[in-house]
């Protein structure tokens, strides 16, 4: 029963510096732990850590040469982050060139269009990946070359004083740069603030895009730390009114066709049938492909890739075979496998059996432009062919939504009553 000590601290700070050192250490450790976990959470299997894309090592756009050796095929697939982060210069471009999701052309109307698909009016302009990381933003076109190098209000997109966002934070957006209003229209979101959305459904990605982009301030008018404005594109459910709105609604940009996204599809690099592009004269200036001078050639032109065994194929995976090239031409023109070659489609046109390409009348024109990264896809060739001969019209699309086929609901489970 010792009497309690009634002495109280006298003329002394309540906290000792040693305790303060301990507390600060704990604070630092907790902060470091949070950072490590955050970093781990942001590492997604298919995301490149972008430290390598320093601008000074970038050659000018005109110097770009896209090599097409087969090693590059290996590079594009199954890259893990640690390996990808070690890529330099041309490999980075090649890697990016392979990361964009490329729509197939709509050559017939998919089932359940109104239930399973979104539609949006595609802005005319340069398709590119916009990457913000480490305080800068870089936009790269389809062939991997840099379009702009600028500060933006995207997370980690500018070196601002508040230093918001950790070094690990970054964004990758799928955009179209629209020249006349100098705006990046975001048509898809691939990574946001370090989190990968690759493996998310389109439904989820669009939801994220709409809530996050606005929040970040990236849609604000340009300023010192934000050189270009970003804007989301209105996305509609592909029912009659949605399709009609996308087709004929007013938008601040020049339209270049309609894009259809399957709601359940993940972001997938390369060509995919789960995103489709369709256009007619009403919603696009460029329905029929033009040549280098901007004129419509009298005959449809296609670019195909020459393979080892003299086969000419599309850029699809797996490639679609068009025909075989004569050994003579190959030798005469000094062609090598992997070259992209330009052909015109002759009067014989394309012939199909059971919906499959049977024969193509191809006339060799020469090697394609060096800036081309890929051959044409099968669906593009067919779409262009259809446009010239029997186009798929907007009325066909609207009609298919009305058709009983499409209205049909999945039969509900039958309850057994014995």
């Amino acid at each position: 029963m010792a009497p309690h000590d009634l002495r109280r601290p006298f003329k002394r700070a309540a906290i000792s510096d040693q305790q303060k050192r301990r507390d600060l250490s704990l604070l630092r450790q907790a902060q470091n732990r949070r950072d490590s976990q955050q970093q781990a959470r942001c590492l997604a299997s298919s995301i490149l850590s972008l430290q390598s894309s320093a601008p000074e090592s970038e050659p000018e756009q005109s110097d770009i040469e896209i090599e097409t050796e087969h090693e590059s095929e290996d590079l594009s697939k199954d890259l893990d982050v640690r390996r990808a982060s070690k890529l330099r210069g041309p490999e980075v471009r090649k890697w990016f060139a392979r990361q964009l999701m490329l729509p197939e052309w709509m050559i017939d109307v998919p089932d359940r269009l109104s239930q399973d698909w979104y539609v949006l009016a595609r802005p005319a302009g340069k398709r590119c990946f916009v990457v913000s990381s480490n305080g800068t933003t870089v936009s790269r076109q389809r062939n991997g070359s840099i379009l702009h190098y600028f500060p933006s209000a995207l997370p980690a997109g500018a070196k601002t004083r508040d230093g918001s966002g950790s070094a690990q934070s970054y964004c990758i957006l799928d955009c179209i740069f629209h020249e006349s209003d100098q705006t990046y229209y975001v048509i898809d979101m691939v990574c946001w603030n370090g989190y990968s959305l690759y493996d998310c459904t389109a439904e989820f990605r669009f939801y994220w895009l709409n809530s996050k982009l606005e929040e970040s301030g990236a849609c604000n008018v340009p300023s010192h730390y934000h050189k270009f404005r970003f804007s989301a594109v209105p996305v509609y459910n592909c029912d009659q009114s949605g399709l009609y709105a996308a087709y004929s609604g007013t938008v601040p940009y020049v339209k270049d066709g309609l894009l259809f996204y399957n709601k359940h599809a993940h972001y997938q690099s390369g060509n995919t049938p789960l995103v489709l592009v369709w256009k007619d004269e009403n919603c696009s200036q460029y329905v029929i492909d033009t040549d280098g001078k901007g004129e419509i050639p009298s005959q449809q032109q296609v670019v195909l890739e020459l393979q080892d065994d003299r086969k000419l194929v599309t850029s699809d995976d797996p490639p679609v075979l068009f025909c075989c090239l004569d050994g003579d031409i190959i030798e005469k023109s000094g062609l090598q496998s992997g070259n992209l070659l330009r052909f015109a489609i002759g009067d014989g046109g394309l012939s199909f059996v059971d919906g499959k390409l049977e024969n193509a009348d191809l006339i060799y024109l020469g090697k394609s432009n060096r800036a081309r990264a890929f051959a044409d896809s099968y669906s593009k060739v067919i779409f262009q062919f259809m446009v010239r001969h029997s186009p798929l019209k907007i009325d066909d699309l609207l009609a298919s939504i009305n058709s009983p086929d499409d209205q049909e609901k999945i039969p509900s489970d039958i309850e057994m009553v014995g």
């Binding site: 000792s16 040693q18 301990r22 470091n32 732990r33 976990q37 989190y195 959305l197």
Partner: protein, 910 residues
């Protein structure tokens, strides 16, 4: 109370019980001792106990060995013999006392695990022996020898502490109280003392209200003025102090409470000073235990305390002041809760006793300020009425805020320039005391007037005492009224120079004044912490650092707290420095390294010198830690600093080598900071450092060292990543051992779990080796921590445990991500989801746990993908939990929740 010899004996007894832990085989008594030979034994016990107190070390050691042998061979007989010795009126008082103490130590120990063993041992003891022992103890209470009675009281309380919770010895209280009125005074006194000890030992919930009533009746009757015997009355008053916790029901009954309060108040007026003091101790205890019942008595209590403060002897006056300090504590807590999140939820309303008493209370306290002792500032242990009064005044200021200012200002004005140092010091102390509590708007005008005066007093006042208090007051000014929290700064460019000059000059004053000047500089620097790229202290940085280093070398700095204060201030100056002075901080590195190097030179140190060396090394390592953290936080300074890394690490290792059994906590903390700054390169230090890391993890006694080392394991994991693999076996084994130890302080266990996460994240799938062990430890801890039943402290602990567990899960899941071995984690997922459900349902997790928990849900989905998707969809509360976090106002929680949503969305859509 004769504390001195008792403490001495206890220490000695404690030491030979320590030796009992290592068994010794030699047998001193060549035979065994059946119960029948108790008489022979008893004789020998007397001699052995006498020998155990011999001044001859060898004899003493021999005796201690004998006791140990005896106890090991036949515990019941041993304990019965001891109780017999205690009860035997023919034995010398020393052996009776020692027998009682040995008996007491056989029932209780400081260390929790040892205490538990002793309790179990007593409970399973032969019941015959126990009855004999109890009979002896009760009999001793009537002994004419007061030491024997007092010892028996304590032993009885220990036995009761073990038995009453097990519903044993139910007749104890009845038999103590049965004939209390017929007992002679000395036995009555012993009985009351026993009741006091018993109340201290036993928790109120194991004693029936009926018995509580009986105890309180006996105690309060013993206290009343009708009791003629002073010793009885004193014992009763002291017993009431311990019994107050049992009196909840009685304090709710108006009549009983009135009676108790009246008796206590009467006792404060007893002619016997010890009784008055004990009665005021009761009042202090009542003020915190029954604050809400005090309203009817507060006026009377004020009168009693005012009289005591004015006239009574110091020990009594101190308790009287403490009563008001304690009321302040209560009201500060209540008002804080009013202002907090739970407004209106507070169980206890504030009665504003202090506010009401203010006009009388403040003058009473101010008067005490003039009763200083001459050399109180040089005496570490001093506590007198002036110190207690000033401390209470500070608490009153915190309780009432602005209202105190007009009551104190006239006192300051009247006394601050008087020729008598007591008046100047009292006035200054009054000013310093009221600087926390009132609003800056109220204080700043006063401070603006006073600052110049204070600076002048600090240099010119002839009294060291006044200078001491002036420097302290300046420190309080800077602590509470300087910095980014205050709108109108009290320090301008003009007076900053003067302030620094005066403080640096005062550092050459006597050690106590210099120490306070260091303290003032500490808060001056702290106020500039968030100043941005440029600090007003920059021009003086070099001079300040130089002066502080000079202070650390003062010969008289070692014996006082001055050296510590100087290093602490240096640390704060470095912490709050800006980029402008980074080159100067860098220059400090080799200087402190040299100091540390110098401590390693001494050879063959005495234990006193060794302690001094350790203390200085601690200060220097602490300083280096602060510097490392400062320079490591920016890439440019880190790069330059790294040139010293090898040498610094070499020094730390030599500091470790100075001790054989323990590691130096401060060096360990500094190494954590170094590992963080060094990154993967730290691997080169590991071969040499590892043994100290292990030693730190094994230090259960100094659990702070263990905790710090656990934190450093985390630092090293993050720094080394997979390079930590070679050390993982050892570290994980030790950590698992620590978790299962009941000797290790519980506060270290949550960080150990977090550390699992750190290691797993660092080594990735290599963690597979430990997965089963770690998961099973986590699982059982998770089960324990789902439900909390207990006080706030337990809730807080449980939440820290949950946080540790969750951080471990996060680290493990993220560590395994993208590994082919991910599927190893699937079997654990259901339990983790259940754990998350559990803590969500309990509704008592704090924000930190919430953030970590929702993160774990995301990690689970992120790593397991579709495997987790369906489990999460089926779990009871994941969806609700996620939605709750998404709508949280806490941005950190919201961010974690969005990440979790993303990960879950992905897992479900696969």
């Amino acid at each position: 109370m004769q504390l001195e010899p008792r403490v001495q004996l206890q220490i000695r007894v404690f030491f030979f019980f320590l030796r009992f832990l290592s068994p010794i085989t030699s047998v001193l008594f060549g035979r065994s001792f059946p119960i029948g030979e108790r008489n022979i034994m008893a004789m020998e016990v007397t001699q052995v106990l006498l020998n155990a107190q011999s001044i001859d070390g060898a004899v003493r050691k021999n005796a201690e060995e004998s006791l140990k042998q005896f106890q090991e061979q036949n515990l019941p007989v041993f304990l019965v013999s001891l109780s017999g010795e205690l009860a035997n009126e023919e034995k010398p008082v020393e052996t009776r006392k020692l027998a009682g103490l040995v008996l007491k130590n056989a029932l209780d120990a400081k260390e929790q695990h040892r205490k538990f063993e002793l309790v179990q041992r007593w409970l399973s003891l032969d019941s015959n022996a126990k009855s004999q022992i109890k009979a002896c103890l009760l009999k001793t209470l009537t002994s004419p020898v007061s030491d024997a009675r007092s010892t028996a009281s304590q032993v009885i309380a220990k036995v009761a502490g073990i038995e009453l919770p097990h519903k044993q010895w139910p007749e104890l209280i009845g038999s103590l109280l049965s004939n209390i009125h017929q007992l002679p005074a000395h036995a009555k006194q012993a009985t009351l003392e026993t009741l006091g000890y018993l109340c201290e030992e036993v928790s109120p919930d194991v004693v029936d209200q009926d018995q509580v009533n009986k105890i309180l009746t006996a105690v309060v009757q013993g206290m009343s003025s009708s009791e003629g015997n002073i010793d009885v009355r004193l014992a009763a008053t002291t017993a009431l102090y311990n019994a107050l916790g049992f009196a909840q029901a009685n304090f709710s009954n108006d009549m009983e409470r009135d009676y108790i309060m009246r008796v206590v108040c009467e006792a404060t007026l007893s002619p016997e000073v010890r009784i008055r003091q004990a009665a005021f101790e009761c009042l202090v205890s009542i003020s915190s235990t029954y604050y809400e019942k005090l309203a009817p008595y507060i006026q009377d209590i004020f009168n009693i305390t005012a009289k005591a403060v004015k006239e009574d002897e110091e020990p009594v006056a101190l308790q009287a002041i403490e009563f008001w300090s304690s009321i302040c504590d209560e009201e500060i807590d209540i008002l804080e809760e009013y202002g907090g999140d739970f407004a209106g939820d507070s169980d206890i309303p504030c009665f504003y006793f202090i506010k009401q008493a203010l006009p009388a209370l403040v003058p009473m306290l101010l008067e005490t300020l003039l009763k200083q002792e001459e050399d109180q500032d040089q005496d570490e242990g001093a506590w007198n009425i002036a110190m207690a009064g000033g401390t209470c005044l500070g608490l009153v200021a915190r309780t009432v805020g602005d209202d105190i200012v007009p009551l104190v200002v006239p006192f300051i004005e009247e006394n601050i320039s008087k020729p008598d140092w007591r008046q100047r010091e009292g006035a200054t102390y009054a000013f310093g005391s009221i600087l926390e509590g009132p609003s800056p708007e109220k204080l700043i005008p006063l401070v603006n007037v006073a600052l110049t005066f204070m600076l002048s007093a600090l240099t010119k006042d002839p009294s060291s005492h006044v200078k001491d208090t002036t420097a302290w007051t300046l420190g309080r000014i800077f602590e509470f009224l300087h910095g980014s929290v205050v709108d109108s700064p009290i320090i301008s460019q003009a007076n900053c120079q003067q302030i620094v000059t005066v403080l640096l000059q005062s550092m050459k004053d006597t050690p106590n004044v210099a120490e306070k000047a260091c303290g003032a500089l500490y808060f001056l620097a702290q106020g500039y912490e968030e100043m941005g790229p440029s600090s007003p202290l920059t021009p003086f940085f070099q001079e300040i650092v130089q002066s502080l280093l000079t202070v650390t070398h003062r010969e008289d700095a070692v014996e006082s707290r001055l050296r510590t204060a100087a290093y602490e201030t240096l640390n704060e100056v470095v912490r709050c420095s800006t980029d402008e002075t980074a080159p100067l901080v860098l220059q400090l590195v080799p200087v402190i390294m040299m100091e540390l190097h110098n401590t390693l030179e001494g050879q063959k140190l005495s234990s006193d010198e060794r302690e001094k060396q350790g203390e200085l090394q601690g200060l220097l390592c602490g300083c280096l830690q602060v510097i490392i953290q400062k320079l490591g936080s920016s890439e440019t300074t880190k790069y330059v600093f790294m040139q010293y890394a090898d040498q610094i690490m070499g020094l730390f290792l030599r500091v470790f080598a100075c001790r054989s059994a323990t590691v130096h906590e401060e060096a360990m903390l500094a190494i954590g900071a170094l590992a963080y700054a060094t990154g993967a390169d730290f691997a080169k230090y590991m071969p040499e450092f590892y043994r100290y890391l292990e030693m730190g993890l094994q230090n259960f006694e100094e659990y702070q060292v263990c905790a710090v080392t656990v934190g450093v394991v985390g630092d090293i994991s993050r720094a080394l990543e997979e390079k930590i693999v070679p050390y993982c076996d050892g570290i994980m084994t030790q950590l698992l051992k620590n978790l299962s130890s009941n000797q290790l302080h519980r506060s270290v266990k949550p960080p150990i779990f977090s550390c699992f996460g750190d290691i797993a994240l660092a080594v990735g799938e290599y963690f597979e080796k430990y997965l089963m062990w770690a998961m099973s430890a986590l699982q059982s801890a998770a089960e324990l921590s789902t439900h909390i039943a207990g006080d706030d402290e337990l809730v807080e602990y449980t939440n820290s445990l949950r946080n540790g567990i969750l951080e471990a899960y996060s680290g493990i899941f993220q560590g395994f991500k993208n590994s082919p071995k991910t599927q190893l984690l699937i079997p654990y997922a259901p339990h983790i989801l259940q754990f998350l459900d559990g803590i969500y349902m309990e509704k008592d997790m704090d924000d930190v746990v919430m953030k970590t928990a929702i993160g774990v849900l995301g990690d689970l989905a992120d790593t397991l993908g579709s495997h987790a998707g369906s489990m999460i969809q089926q779990s009871v509360s994941s969806k609700d939990f996620l939605n709750e976090c998404l709508s949280s106002e806490d941005l950190v929680i919201k961010e974690s929740a969005e990440w979790a949503k993303l990960a879950i969305g992905r897992a479900i859509s696969v």
